[in-house]
């Protein structure tokens, strides 16, 4: 880890749904250009935590700073903050009534206030970066799952976010389409993007992650370099989880 101020600094994040506490005081700080992997059993609160990091979920308690912005402060313009935090979803969530390029252009025009030509150029560049220059004018329904997810990544990176959040970006994809998406993520990392990734792609984690965080029952149980978490985990729960993942 580097010694500079963290770009994401979440402290004591609590979230309850009705009576159920889903996050019980989670801390996470991420340095610039770091890639943090979050793993853990289903229902442990990984998605919920990730969604708190751009306030798609409203935490009940705690503090979250992203790029120096106090995210939970009522004075914060959340929409301005969100464009610095890219998010990629498991189910792509592309807008079905817009072409790939229009999907990317929407926020460029309405949030960044670019004019049509500017936005079209920026969108083309973003789609080129994810290898879809040829498919710009296709509608989501005319694209494969892997291509759709790459458009979704382009939609986020076109806004030049300071950090990117990925929630199981490959788990809705057929196995042969996973590689393309991971390649795009690898390139993003090489370009120095700060990333928080929830995923079960262990090979990718081992190769690309700076740090792996293991969550269970709404808490961060342990964290460390991939080698340590995968080869020599401290907690029994982590060991059991790694064993189970490795089996398939």
């Amino acid at each position: 880890m580097t010694s500079t101020a963290p770009i994401i600094d979440a402290r004591g994040v609590w979230k309850r749904f009705g009576g159920l506490a889903v996050l019980k005081g989670v801390d996470l700080s991420v340095a610039e250009r770091e890639l943090v992997f979050v793993i853990g059993p289903s229902g442990s609160g990984k998605s919920t935590f990730l969604r708190c990091l751009n306030r798609l979920e409203e935490p009940d308690d705690g503090s979250i700073q992203v790029d120096g912005i106090e995210l939970l402060s009522p004075k914060t313009d959340i929409n301005a903050a969100r464009r610095r935090i890219g998010m990629v979803f498991q189910s792509f969530n592309l807008y079905p009534h817009m072409t790939a390029r229009q999907n990317v252009m929407l926020a460029l025009r309405k949030v960044l206030g670019q004019n049509k030509d500017q936005a079209a150029t920026v969108a083309a560049r973003a789609l080129d970066r994810v290898g879809l220059a040829e498919r710009m004018d296709h509608y989501p329904a005319q694209l494969s799952g892997g291509q759709q997810q790459r458009v979704a990544i382009a939609r986020a990176i076109a806004l030049e976010p300071r950090v990117m959040l990925f929630d199981e970006p490959t788990s809705a994809l057929d196995p042969e389409l996973v590689g393309g998406v991971l390649n795009v993520m690898r390139e993003l990392r090489q370009d120095g993007m700060t990333m928080v990734v929830v995923s079960h792609e262990m090979a990718f984690a081992k190769a690309a992650a700076d740090r792996v965080v293991f969550m269970a029952d709404g808490q961060k149980l342990e964290e460390g370099p991939p080698a340590q978490i995968f080869e020599a985990p401290q907690h029994e729960r982590t060991r059991a989880f790694i064993r189970q993942i490795d089996r398939h």
């Binding site: 798609l56 935090i85 998010m87 189910s91 969530n93 929407l106 926020a107």
Partner: protein, 226 residues
């Protein structure tokens, strides 16, 4: 043969028809104006209510739901009669045209709100989240991401409902509006011959058969494609 002649004389009396054609044509024009006013105002109000409802303000939503329920439950003719004969008793008088327009607008508003709202809620939550995560505001998301998708699936039910309600313009004849039916009925009593009524029926067919067919076409075109 006598029966047939009698039938033709009663219902397809060309002389009577020619005489009252202008009257019925005027009725047709009035029906078109009335129908357009109802469609524009009813759909706009319905959309407005559905959008207001999406803000999720509890007491306001209860009010919207109740209003919509009232105008879905009451027969349009009852609303027309209530406005036309009721309001004068309170010192406000409205014309038959205004009473019919207002009543059917409110009825269309109610049905349209319900359909728009169902369409909005049918758009997956992920669409909201994706749009908000790029920094779009609530209203931008509603307008540019959610409504375009919602409107698409609402088109078939909305078309059918709009047709059914605009046909209610004929109810205006009960409160003296000289739309097609009203005009045809006066012509029938002047001429003591029901041919003007046939003319009126033809006018409705000319007006609505294309719309009904359009509705059927839209239904097959939009129903299962997404």
């Amino acid at each position: 043969m006598d029966g047939l002649n009698n039938f033709i004389f009663s219902f397809f009396n060309l002389k009577v028809m020619a005489q009252y054609l202008p009257l019925v044509a005027q009725g047709l024009a009035l029906t078109v104006v009335l129908a357009l006013l109802i469609v524009v105002c009813g759909l706009a109000l319905g959309l407005l209510l559905a959008v207001l409802r999406s803000f999720g303000i509890r007491p306001l939503n209860w009010l919207i739901i109740f209003t919509v329920d009232v105008f879905r439950a009451l027969p349009p003719l009852v609303i027309i009669v209530l406005l036309f004969f009721g309001l004068p008793a309170a010192g406000m008088s409205v014309s038959g045209f205004a009473a019919t327009w207002l009543s059917l607008t409110l009825v269309l508003m109610a049905f349209a709100e319900e359909i728009f709202w169902a369409g909005i809620t049918a758009v997956p939550k992920g669409q909201w989240e994706a749009a908000r995560s790029t920094g779009l505001t609530f209203l931008q998301t509603l307008r540019m991401v959610v409504l375009p998708q919602a409107l698409r699936i609402t088109i078939p039910p909305l078309t059918n409902r709009t047709i059914a309600i605009t046909k209610g313009t004929a109810l205006g004849s009960v409160v003296g509006v000289a739309e097609i039916l009203g005009a045809a009925q006066s012509a029938m009593s002047f001429s003591a011959n029901p041919s003007p009524l046939t003319l009126g029926a033809i006018a409705y067919l000319v007006l609505f058969v294309p719309v009904v067919a359009l509705g059927r076409w839209i239904e097959t075109r939009f129903a299962w494609k997404r």
